[in-house]
Symmetry: C2
Subunit: 430 residues, 2 copies
């Protein structure tokens, strides 16, 4: 498989999406190269990764075609940037929810022609993709659903709206009863926005079904992450990151099935003691800000330095699937309330206070059998960056080795990161 | 007066406030030097500035002693960082409200031992003042009232609370009916916090009186700013900035009286055509982030480059006093609602959308007879920094010369700023 892998191209489809086809044509070969280096160079990968590799191969073609077809059928295609946008409602309306978070250096120059330089690379990357018309996902969506989780995103949506309709959901900054009240109203507005797009109401049956579908997806990911915690590790951190990234653009039912198939395989591998990293490999956990596809920089450095990553406490990680929605709600009002309660459990650093997250990181550290935490912060992400102070304090108290890293998508700091990470691994091994 | 000016010292008082007296003793002479250079070197200043110069002279002594005495009398002394904290409630309880925003480079090193470097200098400066025990204001307060207007402040309060009790008020991110509902609840909580501090309830009569007092203060500042808009200018931008800074730590009634006296003097000066800048001096307006005392950097550069500043669209500027509270409310519930409505009119960039602010900047530009706008953004302030994109677009549309500047408190960029500002002034004069 590894020799034949390539990220496919479909200039005709891209032209239909009003993309800058000429410029974009450089991207698939570039991604093919990086993917070969980061993923296909690994040994003894689980067979089940074939499906996910294929999803990368089709990332700009087959999957986009599916979304294009959905839109042609009148099903809403909604772009999001955050785990707080309740995708259950999109699925209930027969729609497609696609995470648009930008993870690439290539579009940042486009963004910096308009946006300030010293804001988060994810926000810049995403904005640049739209401005440059070099992201088929951005081009295929009916609208974007933004939220107010951080200053940079909140203010960038105002500018993005000039390029693609961008609705914004207010996420409160605390988690008290009055905040929940506001949040439920926001969820209801979101439902209305989706219904306006489709021209018909979401029914209780549809929402119930969508909640079950998404719960099943999140449970499959929980199962996978539990298996992955086995020592020695049956799957690499890179492969796990990839799966967690694909979770944001695959069809939920299909994805769930494939994750569960991979889980079956990992269970069998554990029984036969067939691992990807030998016993004694340093086990690290990553916490912090999300790594949007194709941001594989830190994982690549860590695992090529000889450690294995055993957990991601991140939006593209456990924060996306650690909680499911209670199915106690029977009518629309109750279901929306239960849904909101689930989303309120997500412990993004945008909340204050947010001590639950500190506890959660320590809990995941214990459960994953990690030997140290690397806290990853996207450059200029104030909330995670400042919260890292509290996290460091907690780790010091618990005697957990802790390394805080702030980085962007550029290759400039790779050497320096390598040095720091290798020193951290040595310190753990001592 | 100018030869005798000095910022006074009171080591005994500082020791009672548990300050780092030895280290702090360097500050008054340093501030004396800067004040002489920035303010007392100006010619033909209004007589009425004597009071405000005196407030600076007593900034670490007489005024602190007054606050100390208030605290000894059981009156609450509350530190704030934002124009969204409703000071009427503090005054109604007989308390003292003091703006703590840090405007100095001297405490940033203390902060950076704990906080990330790449956040707003105002937040770092303030946090460093407390950590280093080198700010008598911080030491004299009973507690700090923070808010959630930006990521850096919101998350820093969690850390500040380890040094001084820090209550946080949630400010919503939009301005719809549901946001107002939440906001009114926050205001009520604030009232409760003050009442818990004093041990007695705020009465309707007290609140009514405090609203009138603060309305009178804001109206005096409006009057002063209107007079200052006269062409030629009867007062410098530096002096205006100083008065607007002192507004955050003086006693309201006394301050109002002195501002009105100065207004009388300026009216007389306008009649006799006695101005501080000759007809034809380039008139600039500053918009953007607040300049906390002693941050006089930009004003000093601009006015020493030969222009005069005729308006500050800023929290330490018009945002603090452009709106007053409707006195239609007769009972507590109504008064708190009217109060909240007034605070909701403030157009901080933390809101989305925030087009009202763009309109307000243009309006103030017209009213002040400015010939160009310098938008000032504290480094790493994402909300103002990104909003500057929209502001630039609006200025281009209106044909208004516009210069965006991002800076911190360090002297390193002074030369570069000077060059840019001189070029901007030349461009306007052409």
């Amino acid at each position: 498989m590894s020799e034949q892998f390539q990220v496919k191209a479909d200039p005709e489809l891209w032209a239909k999406l009003d993309m800058d086809v000429e410029r974009f044509s450089n991207i698939p070969p570039m991604l093919t190269g990086v993917f070969n280096d980061v993923f296909l160079s690994q040994e003894n990968r689980p067979q089940g990764m074939g499906y996910f590799d294929n999803m990368v191969s089709n990332i700009f073609t087959g999957r986009i075609q599916e979304m294009y077809d959905a839109r042609e059928e009148g099903r809403p295609v909604v772009g999001t940037f955050c785990v707080y946008v309740p995708e259950e409602i999109i699925h209930a309306a027969g729609g497609v929810c696609v995470g648009l978070c930008g993870g690439s250096q290539g579009s940042i120059g486009d963004a910096e022609k308009i946006l300030p330089r010293n804001i988060c690379p994810m926000v810049k990357s995403a904005f640049g993709f739209k401005v440059g018309r070099i992201c088929p996902f951005f081009q295929v969506v009916d609208f974007v659903y933004g939220e107010t989780t951080c200053d940079a995103k909140k203010k960038t949506w105002e500018l993005l709206d000039e390029y693609v309709p961008t609705h914004v959901m207010e996420i409160p900054q605390m988690k008290r009863e009055r905040d929940k009240k506001l949040w439920v109203e926001e969820v209801k507005d979101f439902k209305t926005a989706i219904e306006q797009q489709t021209g018909k109401d979401v029914t209780e049956t549809e929402l119930k079904q969508a909640i079950e579908t998404m719960n099943a997806k999140r449970k499959a990911m929980q199962r996978l992450n539990d298996l992955r915690h086995h020592d020695p590790s049956p799957i690499s951190g890179r492969d796990m990151l990839l799966i967690q990234q694909i979770a944001f653009y695959d069809i939920p039912e299909r994805f769930t099935e494939k994750v569960n198939e991979l889980c079956d395989e990992l269970e069998a591998r554990i029984k036969t003691e067939n691992y990807v990293a030998p016993k004694g490999t340093t086990r690290l956990m990553v916490s912090g800000t999300p790594m949007a596809l194709p941001n594989w920089k830190l994982h690549n450095i860590i695992e090529k330095s000889g450690a294995v990553i055993v957990n991601e406490e991140s939006c593209i990680g456990t924060r996306y699937y650690k909680d499911t929605i209670s199915t106690d709600g029977t009518n629309m009002e109750q279901m929306l309330e239960k849904l909101t309660e689930r989303y309120m459990q997500i412990d993004c650093s945008c909340f204050t206070p947010n001590d639950d997250r500190i506890d959660q990181v320590i809990k995941e550290y214990r459960e994953s059998g990690a030997q140290g935490i690397i806290d990853y912060c996207l450059q200029f992400c104030h909330t995670y960056n400042i919260e890292a102070v509290k996290l460091r304090q907690a780790c010091e108290k618990e005697g957990i080795p802790f390394l805080a890293i702030e980085s962007d998508y550029s290759p400039e700091d790779v050497g320096q990161l390598q040095t720091r990470i290798e020193a951290f691994i040595e310190q753990i091994q001592d």
